[in-house]
Symmetry: none
Subunit: 199 residues, 4 copies
DNA sequence: TATGAATGAGAGTTCATTCAT
DNA sequence: TATGAATGAACTCTCATTCAT
């Protein structure tokens, strides 16, 4: 009845739809997830969706933003407060605990929509910026030998880390068992400042 | 009378459609790739597709099989004939040269169709079996310290490698520059037998 | 606010689509009647059909049920309230007044779909049960000499009547002039309890 | 190799295709019977069809003509040579022995195509002419009281008979057991010259 | 805000037909 | 004559979206 409860109600509806969308995207992909399937799982009719989102693209954008924000606001500060040698563990553990692991999926779909939608382009840029920046901060602060590497080489390591995490994420989505230890193996290998690339 | 026999003609049509499908899948994904768009790019009408494939699922299966076979028949033998320390480079170079990098994409789509189609399940099993087996052979032969690792740990390394490669593949699809050197960085780190996992 | 409630509106749409389907089926048959042609004739778009029916098969089922119900609820009670000697006239007149005469057609199509669809099988059973039962009641009540015939023979007469009516129906559909009098001729001949079959 | 064997070969192919078409039409209807299904059942590829028929419509026409001719050439002469009181039995027995009973079906399909195709119109006219004429001859020759009836009334009886036979045919196609005796019951009733129509 | 009937573009698929072999 | 690859129109059905309620 109050103005506040209205806003809260709206927020609740949005969150439920985003939660449902997360599941349905994981199961059927973005294209295969119908608005009906999503709202039905959230316990609403399709009209509720269009009262809260302009279209399906916006759903993808807001879902992606929510996932980035969760990491940036909840995990990153914790990790940065730890000594460098413990950060990798914390992050690896958090990454391997995310269910369902749809980050890669969302990124692929955003990439496809990029050219048609400026909002998508902005979100996608923000996603990558946030990811590479986070990794760089996790990795590059004093204490780690990597901080002294030339910028280009350090960037190379960051990309390698993101590749490893992204791939692990995807493998998990495909049903391959990837636990935190395996993720650490990827990260640790890349993070070894003395690691000599064969070539 | 004809330059090409009927069987050859048929084979040519199939290959052209598979080539076109590779491109259109990379651009729009499996669900977003219409049969029309694929056959038009291949220079045929819609019906040509149904003369050569039973349905869209079969297209996905055959495309995936072709990509696995290409690696198994063309690259793997070459790599195995090299000394261990050069194999990683060869494979990394080959992987980063594949255009478009749709392996991850295909795997995700196959995984979605798995439950509905026994052929898909078989193909998917074959994909993973081939990949993990190839990596294990590339990595495990004598000369590399990894050959002496316990089976479970070696498996962990293999998964980590596949994760790295898969992720790099996906990043490339997303427009991130990932060259052979970055890939080697991922692989080399994981392959270091003395690499100590932090945890 | 509205003149009609939602449920009423929905019912109206269904009835209009069923009416249109009746006509288009009569003209082009079940297979030849496209959803587009039906909904266009009803004054709706294609999608309206799928808001109200799950698929084309359901349309056939519901149309058939409507025609049976119309007879069972409107004509049969009237006929049974008449003395036996007037029933045949009433029924014959009603049968020859039905436009378009698609009962036979619907039955043939249902028979084709029977094996693939349990709903169809149930409807078809219900159709025949209703028809043979109605005819038996029309014919068999006291006053008619047929009531005393052995069960098997009476069944034979019922089948013969249905055959005559069905055939007349079909001939009308084919453009042959079949009026109520001709129908009565078929029925009366079969209904003569003293009629001796030649063999 | 000889000219004669060629013609014979062609004839054989046609007959086999017509036989196969009879079965497939009975199972799936005209629209539901694909050229592929028909030629496959006949043991040919679809090309054989187009070497012997101009299109699907011609198949329907020729099939119908074959069935009429079979009756006119094989059964009618036999029946006419019998005394009137035995003719009904012979015809009823022959009618109830035809498998599959698709005459009604063919007539319905021809009627649908009538407006678009002069050949179809001619065939359909010929079908009805042949049927009504045959029945009239079977029934009307001296000895039967019907011969003396006014022309209009006699025509009415003929239509009633055809309706009965057509309906019986259709019921058989729908799986209802209709034997020769039931058919005779229909025919005999209508043929009773003293039968008084109720109205 | 939420509902759900209706819209209509677009998808996968079938199939009569053509034509080079 | 018979084959079968290829064509393309037409069909059933899905689904993002609109809008009156």
């Amino acid at each position: 009845m109050t103005r506040r409860s209205r806003a809260q109600q709206r927020e609740l509806t949005c969150q439920r739809i985003l939660d449902a969308a997360t599941e349905v995207f994981a199961e059927h992909g973005y294209a295969g997830a119908s608005i009906d399937a999503i709202t039905a799982r959230a316990g609403y009719s399709r009209g509720a969706f269009y009262s809260n989102f302009t279209d399906k693209t916006e759903l993808l954008i807001r879902l992606t933003q929510r996932r980035i924000d969760t990491f940036a606001e909840q995990e990153l500060p914790d990790a940065l407060s730890l000594p460098p040698e413990e950060r990798v563990q914390l992050v690896a553990r958090w990454l391997s605990a995310q269910e369902p692991p749809i980050e890669s999926l969302l990124a692929v779909e955003l990439a496809r929509l990029r050219d048609d939608d400026p909002d998508v382009a902005a979100t996608l840029d923000r996603v990558f910026e946030a990811i590479f920046d986070s990794v760089d901060r996790l990795v590059g602060i004093q204490g780690s030998g990597l901080a002294e590497l030339p910028r280009a080489e350090r960037r190379e390591r960051v990309v390698a880390i993101v590749a490893g995490v992204t791939g692990a994420n995807l493998l998990r989505q495909l049903g391959v068992a990837v636990d935190a230890r395996t993720l650490e193996l990827v990260l640790t290998g890349v993070l070894d400042p003395d690691g000599e690339v064969v070539a």
